[in-house]
């Protein structure tokens, strides 16, 4: 892509408040992106702490550390915090930093709303974390908060409901901002089909967000009125139906899993061409595949609930629709592979994470197809097989892509290079410990170990110990990642404006670190 960049036009001085008020009041997309990323990392550590608690309890059979009720709170909050507090804000942070720079816009469309949508998050996080300390403890009915468990429970459940309201509002505002920015503020000459794929995937993700996040808000509102105001949406005694909750929840919940993976596809689609030094293979098919995944994701929700007693014609519909998603996903995987084919590849850390992503995400995708088969799903429902499946798509999928993105763009963000050697260690340790933790869980699940139970039969002891050791290793490795990032920010080598020779997108035409205000005069794309 040929770019003419107008370098003057930065004549005015960048005056903004200093100290804490700079961050509280900021409307700058780069500041807000940074805050999103640090917030999500903090939440990642909190959710990780809960995961360590879970793995510590499951290290041996019997009850050692966590009482069953607290264990259930740990699994519930681990899921909620990782999904809504870590993965989603991390992608919004990446979008905040990268979308304006990649489309040649000066900032996000609604800068003030951008600030609000971030500052709602710490409030929601505080509600979630502090619910551990209220009478009755935190919500313990699983991250999907099915009634009747969620219509019972104490104040902690109400706090969780409010937190989900806030997180939903934040996501909707963020999504509206991203859609408007992408549709209205592209530099002249950047047609939709010239947009980098990361921008495309985020545009589609943002549409999914405004489509399903309000439905989640409605669901939790119904739950709240059932709990406190005597309605009976989900209360069987009052004529409601708990299965209805599952339908509405998963109408949100299934698109939600694509909300967490589509931007990851975008990140990988940026990194692979850069380090293969070839344009992305099949750009337009990537765009169409992303769109079809998004559309299909809205009609497959009931595959999460094959065992509720639905008619077999319903099971068959949702089974076939689910399997259909493997087609556009397969198109993507083949395109990434074809991009690497005969490319002059190098294996810097972002590329390693991207290749690791493809390899492990495909494993998670295959176990997903296996789970889609109704008779198998009835066997593995609520077992560790499902846990293994969704951690392969969420940890080695979404999270690995976020790591890749951070290594890829860190030189642009802070003007310094990370330590390549340490980064490689981070990748290989993550890869090893991740598989140690979750691969064995496939076997546990097939052998029938149920999820959300703090104790287990003796036959599961060995694999659980292996899994726990892997979990502790994976957790420690992420502290090492924190060290790498801090080292890079404080004392990394100066980065060139374009540290990756294969980079073709607009952000590499800016100096490193990216100036506080960029593209105030839009670049012209030929």
């Amino acid at each position: 892509m040929a770019v003419v960049q107008d370098v003057h036009g930065h004549g005015h001085d960048d005056h903004h408040p200093t100290g804490i008020m700079r961050w509280v009041c900021t409307t700058n997309h780069k500041d807000i992106g940074t805050m999103y990323l640090w917030f999500s990392f903090a939440m990642f550590l909190v959710g990780g702490f809960l995961a360590m608690g879970i793995r510590a309890e499951l290290f041996m059979p019997g009850i050692q550390i966590l009482e069953p009720e607290l264990f259930n709170s740990f699994t519930t909050l681990h899921g909620l915090i990782m999904v809504f507090g870590a993965i989603m804000p991390a992608f919004v942070g990446l979008a905040n930093w990268q979308v304006p720079m990649m489309i040649g816009a000066p900032d996000m469309a609604f800068a003030r709303m951008n600030n609000w949508s971030f500052w709602i998050l710490p409030v929601a996080a505080t509600l979630l974390v502090s619910s551990f300390f209220v009478p009755g403890g935190a919500a313990a009915g699983g991250w999907t908060f099915y009634p009747p468990l969620s219509t019972q429970g104490g104040m902690g459940v109400d706090m969780m409901i409010f937190a989900v309201h806030l997180l939903g509002a934040s996501s909707i505002m963020g999504a509206i901002n991203i859609i408007t920015t992408i549709l209205n503020m592209r530099a002249p000459g950047m047609t939709l089909m010239k947009m980098p794929l990361f921008v495309w995937t985020w545009l589609i993700t943002a549409y999914l967000l405004v489509l399903v996040m309000p439905v989640l808000a409605g669901t939790v509102t119904m739950l709240l009125t059932d709990r406190n105001f005597g309605t009976s949406f989900f209360n069987a005694a009052g004529g409601g139906d708990p299965v209805l909750f599952q339908h509405i929840f998963w109408f949100f919940g299934h698109p939600e899993v694509y909300i967490m993976i589509l931007p990851a596809f975008g990140v990988v689609s940026e990194i692979i061409p850069t380090f293969s030094r070839k344009p992305l293979f099949g750009y337009s098919s990537m765009v169409y595949a992303t769109a079809s995944i998004a559309i299909l994701s809205c009609v497959v929700w009931a595959h999460h609930m094959f065992t509720v007693g639905m008619p077999s014609v319903g099971q068959l519909f949702f089974m076939y629709a689910t399997m259909l998603i493997a087609v556009p996903t397969g198109v993507k995987v083949f395109n990434w592979t074809a991009t690497m084919w005969r490319g002059s590849m190098t294996f810097e850390v972002p590329m390693l994470f991207s290749i690791g992503f493809i390899f492990l995400f495909v494993i998670g995708g295959f176990s997903g197809v296996i789970c889609a088969i109704v008779p198998i799903d009835i066997q593995v429902q609520e077992t560790y097989y499902v846990i293994a499946h969704f951690h392969y798509v969420l940890v080695s999928g979404a999270l690995f892509a976020i790591f890749g993105a951070v290594y890829y763009w860190l030189p642009k963000w802070c003007g310094r290079m990370y330590d390549e050697k340490l980064g490689k260690w981070h990748f290989w340790l993550s890869m090893f410990f991740f598989n140690l933790t979750f691969f064995v869980q496939h076997f546990l699940g097939l052998a029938g170990m149920p999820r959300r139970v703090p104790d287990y039969a003796l036959q599961f002891a060995d694999f659980n110990m292996v899994s726990s050791i892997g979990g502790f290793g994976f957790g420690l490795t992420q502290l090492f990642f924190l060290y790498i990032v801090i080292k890079c920010i404080r004392s990394g080598e100066k980065a060139a404006d374009k540290p990756w020779e294969g980079g073709t997108t607009l952000e590499w035409t800016l100096p490193s670190p990216a100036p506080y205000h960029s593209f105030e005069t839009p670049p012209t794309i030929k």
Partner: protein
């Protein structure tokens, strides 16, 4: 130029906000839609009478045992079946009696929810009359006997010889 972009942006914001509100309402619209869907598809009709099939033949070669169970949750009521179990022929029309009494000094209402064991029983149990089809309101100290009329379809698999019909009364709150 900048002014124009700001105007277009605000228009877009308005559209997307309206869309979000519509989707919020859509979540609520799923509730009646789901009920209608279940009604049309015949799922979840536990609380509706079945239509009697006149051609059902009584299978006198078999006897099955029906256990009658009763529970109360969150109500000051006593609830019991007048006979704890009965032996019947599949296809035979049966009437059993349950009794509820309100032990408190408040008028309260409750709804009975049935539950069957084994699960396939739901397919073979045809109920024509049941106290669970409507909510029950009891005055202070009132006692009421209520019938359940049903037929077990003779198509029921031969290996099922004992089955349980259980009702639980849930509170609908005090009547004002």
């Amino acid at each position: 130029m900048m002014y124009n972009v700001a105007k277009i942006n605000i228009a877009m914001l308005r559209k997307l906000l309206i869309f979000s509100v519509i989707m919020f309402a859509f979540g609520y619209a799923l509730v009646p839609f789901y009920e209608k869907f279940c009604e049309v598809a015949g799922i979840n009709n536990l609380l509706k009478p079945d239509v009697a099939d006149k051609d059902v033949k009584v299978d006198t070669t078999r006897l099955v045992m029906i256990q009658l169970d009763s529970n109360v949750r969150g109500l000051p009521w006593q609830f019991k079946a007048l006979q704890s179990n009965i032996k019947i022929h599949p296809g035979e029309s049966i009437e059993v009696m349950y009794e509820i009494s309100n032990n408190s000094d408040q008028e309260t209402s409750g709804q009975a929810i049935p539950s069957y064991s084994p699960r396939v029983l739901e397919k073979y149990l045809k109920k024509f009359e049941c106290f669970c089809f409507t909510k029950q309101v009891l005055k202070p100290g009132e006692t009421r006997q209520m019938p359940v009329k049903f037929v077990i379809d003779p198509q029921i698999p031969a290996d099922i010889t004992t089955m349980t019909i259980s009702y639980t009364f849930f509170s609908l709150g005090a009547v004002n």
